[in-house]
Amino acid sequence: MSDELLLAQARRAEGRHKIGMILILCGAIAALAGATEWIPTAPTDKHLWQICAAVAAVTIAAGLALRLTARVPAEAKRGRVAMMRAEQSQAKRQVAYLLMPLSLCLMLPGVVGATSRVAGGATIEHTELFTVICFIAFLLAFALLIAGRGLDRWAASVLNDELGRELRAKALQLGYAILLPGLAALFVVGLVNRDLAVELTPVLAALGVGGPALRLYRLERAAGAGAIEA
């Protein structure tokens, strides 16, 4: 089988894998939305959780079916084809690194608003709880992606090679350099104004993940062009 044919087959299987993963994530979000209906401040319509649960069950089942039935040919997991696939995946990851800070910025107003209200003594609304949980889940997922977790074994040798590890280490160094002084500053602010410190916590967390994501994007782009930062 030619490399082009193998690549096309692998791309189709990867497409099914991705759609499956998106469906599973949608199902998880629906399940989460249903679960937040159980908290005391949720609206009185207690049947909404049943709709959410049904949507979650259907989408998760469809997602699992797609993922389990998509098979990448074994020949596409080694040699030149594996390298080509890994480089294509690297290009997509670069776009993801760029989109991470953007998505965190979009969620941040809602999270800061919720934090601010709760810090002011109000009880958290179910919609706010949903936003906050999504924000935390995205933060953790982004941090894992930046750290190079979740790579397939065939791609790891290319994407997680010596240069890849070095670039990730540099990006994570920036996260450390943001979070450590930021936490120290928050601690001091908290001694003077506790509410402000609580409100600023999600901003610091977003900076601690978004900063390294942008740095990794720049470093990988520079490495591709043959001019990495010193």
Binding site: D161, L163, G226
Partner: protein, 72 residues
Amino acid sequence: MTSPRLGNRIRLAREETGLTQAELALRVGVSRKTINTVENAVFTPSTTLALSIARAFERPVEALFFLIEPEG
């Protein structure tokens, strides 16, 4: 005092053997980006990677890598 930098003759060796960066990357088991950055002396490889690259060309590591002493 400035430390010496690592220079290399990978491009020359590739041209002599007719290998592309991608083919060399495949032989060594790293990404093309890694080969590119090592070749352009913007990334200093570990001893393991330097030896792997030398092995891919069937040459001693000193034939491919050398130290550039700082001027002055």
